[in-house]
Amino acid sequence: MDFKTFVIDRHRHLKWAALDPLENTLMVLCGISIAGFTFSVFLDVVTRELGGAILWLQLVTTGFFAWGVFIGMAVATRRIDHLNLVEITKQMSGGKRTFMEVFNRLVILAVALAMVVFGVQNFMNDLGSFRAPSLIPLATYTASVPISGALIVLFCVEQLINGWNRGFEGPEDRDDFAGIVT
């Protein structure tokens, strides 16, 4: 397994090779998160049935789950796997296409920046909040939001620069579901 095992080649023209190891790492973390909470729910059920329920396992479970969602949200941005209402940009070309793609990424960028700025504020506030029974700081969970936002900003900038220089059109425009479903 190398650092590109889980990197998808779709939209290669919008990607920097230097960020491939990051995409790969994030994909592995997605796998670890689902494996992690599968195992923790399993342990939760087993210990409960054995009469010695471990309450903090539920905190571990929700932690893996929340981190998995926000890491996945970031990596789905790089892989262009998020769900869209329509795929109209893929039928366009030239300046119109560039305008639409840039506009869309600027909207994503704005939301991601809000996730960073306000997510950090929430993180700071949550340093003083604790989750029972093991009194884990809530901030260990909510840190996932600004980190996800920062990664989305990074991937958006990557796509904007590469798309501006090389154009947004690619051979995968006609195969827009291949990444998610297979």
């Binding site: 494996a35 929700t62 998610i180």
Partner: protein, 446 residues
Amino acid sequence: MSNGAILLLMTALFLFFGYMGVPVAFALMAGVLTACALTPISMQSMIGQMFHGIDSEILLAVPFFLLVGELMTSANVTNRMIRLAQTMVGHMRGGLAQVVTLFSMFFAGISGSSTADVAVLSRTVAPEMTKEGYDRAFTAALIACASTMANLIPPSIMAVVYGATGNVSIGGLFLAGIAPGVVVGIGLMIYSHFFGPIGVKKARASLCDFADAARASALPLMIPLIIMGGILTGWFTPTEAGMVACVYIIAVLVPLLSRSHIPKLPRDFVYTGLLYSIPLALVAAASAFGWMLAYLRGPDIVSGWIEIIAGHDGRIIMLLLVLLFIVIGDFMDAVPAIIIFMPIVIKLNELGNIKPLHMGVVLITTLVFGLITPPYGLSLLVASKFVGVAFSRAMWASLPIYVVFFVAIGFTVLFPDVVLYLPKLFLPESVGCFKSPTGAGYICPP
């Protein structure tokens, strides 16, 4: 600016960004953050709401049911169920079309994902159908329509999201979804028999063949029993039942039926890890949108409009909501639709004195119809891509099949006693019944 105007602006911005091609999760948040700028609500609290929207143990069932589908599909265990379906209905008129529907009913009992169902059928049965001369457009339309049963027959991801957001019993929703799921299945089989292509006539499978196929499928078909048995006996929550099904596949099915797949299990986890985050990112954003909608008194405004037309008549309210959700389902994914409109649904349940479980199953049946209607018919889009036919052709082929869904929706609205029979029998509390003070049986409201 009045609340109504901000509400309209927020919704219009979401739709504008969404139709410009911004991913749904970001389009929703862009609308919410703009609304924040016009209200005393801080953007910080709305970003926080994204986290709180997914901070729920119940929603863990979503990745588990997706993982079940991914494991079953990638380990090729599903081929055994396809063979069982072939021995049961392959000899009928339009045999492979019947196989598609029957397999989808089996698969729906294992996975909660319509997309996984489409992926399996498009790779396995669709090439056979093309060889036998079935029109590709019909094949894509039928696969897409049959895949909707994955969200009706338990386990259903839509039911999990609906139950988690609306505080409705997920076990009850699972049981209530069986009736409309079976209606859709039988409807598709009747349609294929009378109006579908004839296909190649085959001999009826012998009893031995059927017994062999049933034996080969016995282990995979244990999964619905594990899931529903665990929930109904009170051993597991729906989330835990999903986990137990995953463990069963990894520890029993794969080693026994597809040993060569063991080294590929980490890959399944990685891809499912990504796969589950996509709808849950929508849940996070839709939860912030729904919160803002409630703050702006959206439920009061919409229920006010509906009250003018329907008064307090529960059936008319339900009918109006069905019409509204048919339109919404055409333009939006079901998961954010459920979360965004939940405050309105709850308000209307109170207005019309409607059982939340009944409303839930009606709306889920309506929203699965949205999976095959343009422009945002996700199952039809994926099926047409995989089968290799233009979306417009697949859409035309699916138009007559809409009748099946209208019948299923009508049935669900008009016959609550039939739809709620199983929940009332196995989970009486889910339909509002409570234990008799004498300790014998349950008292149920009319």
